[in-house]
């Protein structure tokens, strides 16, 4: 016990004096969480936060284009900017991504609306417009056009009817579609429907990413111990492989758990200071603890394996950097998995970072409990045990030289 205490204490003292490691393990993920959460705030925010600006040029004159204009201006989140300059100048601004869209209602649009060959509305998007935003704006235009079209088609139909019939036809509410749909998210924090913010995605994502970087300080100290003969000295003092592995596993587990606490505090306290949303932790502290423990175990065991595979500190840094970036890219840390094509989504099922992230998202977003996180926690546990077993098989190298 005294031996183990000494091993743990030694690792903690050394890590606290290693500014590079502290920056890597605590400052880097905190900065990532802050920057990415604030930068992606709009992408994850509710509809109120969607802001799309566009120029609307109405070359037509008449009630149809006036009605269409009115409907477009009424769409929430879309801002029509004053178009006081020629259309070509407006198109240039859109091409430069100063404004996202240019909408032109062509001359004769109203008259041709119900004819066999209608004049189409022109929608031009800037080169930097995201596909999702393009589709959203296009859908809004389709909706407005559909309503105007139906309104005028019905009006014409009524005009063609004899007076007694036309007066018997009731008026229609063309905004009824909004009343016929109650849309909402199952993500609720205070009993009210909400949309998850970027914080809910970014805190667990960058936390998982940072936890796997424990491999760099761990393998560097392990390497120094091997290269400087400290490992041989410790073994000559009777320390066996199990004690040596445990002497690494426990202190770095503690450091990983400290990372979890610090990053959650960044989401809970620091992000709101910077104008970001506050992280919500879900409803199951036990599930959160289980995820934190299993992910820590997996990342430290992985770090021990890396430390045993490489021969120099440089190799450890390069290997960990590349492997972690790959695991992060696959695991949905950098790009959310729902944006990936099916093949990449299938591949991501093999990334331990994906298991960690899914587990945390189950707790934070889906309000999952122990049962929900159990599959991911078990995968992480199995991964950690496999890494530990492999690390234990080759704890040192031949050191004879004389």
């Amino acid at each position: 016990m005294r031996t183990l205490y000494s091993l743990v204490k030694k690792e903690w003292i050394m890590l606290l004096r290693d500014w590079h490691a502290l920056l890597l393990l605590f400052v880097m993920p905190a900065v990532f969480i802050l920057v990415m959460s604030l930068a992606l705030q709009n992408s994850f925010a509710s509809q109120q936060a969607v802001h799309i600006s566009y120029y609307l040029v109405n070359e037509d004159s008449g009630p149809v284009s006036a009605a269409l204009t009115q409907r477009l201006l009424a769409v929430p989140g879309f801002s029509a900017l004053p178009a006081h300059v020629p259309t070509t100048a407006l198109a240039t601004r859109v091409r430069r991504d100063q404004v996202q869209f240019l909408v032109i209602i062509p001359r004769g649009f109203g008259k041709a609306l119900l004819h066999a060959h209608p004049l189409p509305l022109r929608m031009l998007a800037g080169p930097g417009v995201e596909p999702a935003v393009y589709k959203l704006f296009e859908a809004a235009l389709h909706n407005a056009l559909g309503q105007v079209y139906a309104e005028h088609a019905l009006a014409r139909l009524k005009n063609m009817m004899p007076a007694p019939v036309s007066t018997a036809v009731p008026g229609f509410d063309f905004d009824a579609a909004d009343k016929l749909l109650h849309a909402g998210s199952l993500y609720q924090t205070h009993g009210q429907m909400e949309f998850p913010s970027s914080v809910q995605q970014n805190v667990p994502a960058w936390l998982v990413f940072a936890m796997f970087f424990i491999a760099i300080p761990l393998s560097t100290t392990w390497m120094q111990e091997r290269q400087q003969g400290t490992y041989a000295r410790l073994r000559s003092m009777g320390l066996n492989t199990r004690a040596l592995l445990l002497g690494k596993l426990l202190p770095y587990l503690g450091i990983n758990l400290l990372q979890v606490i610090v990053m959650l505090l960044v989401g809970l306290i620091v992000l709101p200071w910077f104008g970001g949303d506050r992280l919500t932790l879900g409803h199951s502290p036990p599930a959160l603890v289980v995820m934190a423990l299993t992910l820590s175990f997996a990342s430290v065991a992985y770090a021990l394996l890396v430390a045993n595979l490489v021969s120099t500190g440089e190799q450890a840094t390069i290997f960990t950097g590349v492997a972690n970036l790959l695991m992060a890219a696959l695991g949905g840390i950098m790009v959310p998995r729902f944006l990936m094509p099916p093949l990449m989504q299938a591949l991501s099922a093999y990334s331990p970072m994906a298991w960690g992230l899914d587990g945390f998202l189950d707790v934070f977003l889906r309000h999952g409990g122990l049962q929900t996180v159990a599959p991911d926690a078990l995968r992480l546990l199995a991964f950690g045990l496999a890494c530990l077993a492999l690390a234990g098989l080759r704890p040192g190298r031949r050191e004879g030289k004389g």
Partner: protein
């Protein structure tokens, strides 16, 4: 103290034996110098003795205890001071000593006393709070030694403990080793510094290619009976004619009034004395045997460069 009988060892993927049928005795309280060129098997032998490599059953005994059967027992009274700085640079001297005391499971109540002892022997008291990474080479060597003293070893393995330090630090460390030895600790000392071994060790073993070539005291090794160097000092300076006559002798070198024969048997010696008498030369002194340990070492292990 240490008794090795017919020990052989081969690394798992090695083509040759790193240690080959080696037998060696190190008596209790000895300061034993283990010499050998690079790759001769010194570190492998020490690794076996300290328990880092497995030993075949019954081949190695320390204090009468079979190494294979009772490893933990031997660990409690032996210690290794490796050639490398085997400690933690980011920890202070005191923190390093406290850490290794913890690893050795020295009772907490006794830790302070042991650390103080180690600091005192190695002369590190004034620096105990300094981080190891900020120490000079000499202080690092002393810390390396101090850690090896924490369990008050009866058997201490020192692997080139004075490499890369100034003469003052070397002198201090050698003095400390003598003191440790004088208090009853058996010391096995490896070094490439022959002068150091000559002055320090009371018994020496030379190892090469995993085999023990010779073992004995310095006097025994340098003054043995086998074919060795002869040095003859002459009372008068040689004339040109005398020089010419002696130059015909195979292997004889003339240096002023001194004659040297690299390999001289007893029969050769008699012939040479007769030749000197023929030319009216009187020897003023005769030295037979190796001049120093380095000459013996090179004679035994050859001049071929090692990796």
């Amino acid at each position: 103290m240490i008794q090795i009988d017919g020990l052989s060892f081969r690394y798992p993927r090695g083509n040759n034996d790193a240690i080959s049928n080696l037998s060696l005795r190190v008596r209790h309280g000895s300061l034993f110098g283990l010499l050998g060129p690079n790759g001769s098997g010194k570190t492998t032998l020490i690794s076996i003795l300290i328990g880092l490599l497995p030993s075949p059953p019954g081949r190695v005994q320390i204090e009468g205890i079979s190494l294979q059967a009772r490893r933990p027992e031997t660990r409690s009274f032996s210690a290794l001071v490796p050639q490398d700085y085997a400690f933690y640079p980011r920890l202070s001297i005191a923190e390093n000593l406290a850490f290794f005391a913890g690893v050795l499971a020295i009772p907490a109540a006794e830790t302070g006393v042991r650390i103080q002892e180690a600091l005192s022997v190695s002369g590190l008291e004034p620096h105990h709070g300094t981080r190891a990474e900020r120490l000079s080479g000499g202080l690092k060597r002393r810390l390396n030694l101090a850690i090896g003293l924490l369990n008050r070893p009866r058997l201490l393995f020192l692997d080139e403990p004075t490499v890369g330090i100034d003469p003052q630090s070397r002198h201090f460390i050698l003095k400390a080793i003598r003191r440790i030895n004088s208090q009853g600790t058996t010391v096995v000392y490896t070094s490439h510094n022959m002068e150091e071994v000559e002055s320090l060790c009371d018994e020496i073993g030379v190892l090469d290619n995993g085999r023990l070539l010779v073992q004995g005291t310095l006097e025994q090794l340098l003054g043995g009976s086998e074919s060795k160097q002869l040095v003859v000092g002459l009372a008068s300076t040689l004339t040109a004619e005398q020089c010419k006559a002696l130059a015909a002798w195979p292997g004889l070198e003339v240096a002023g009034s001194e004659l040297r024969v690299a390999q001289c048997s007893a029969a050769d010696f008699q012939h040479l004395m007769a030749l000197l008498a023929t030319h009216g030369l009187k020897p003023s002194r005769v030295k037979y045997g190796y001049g120093n340990l380095e000459q013996l070492f090179l004679h035994l292990t050859g001049h071929r460069l090692r990796d």
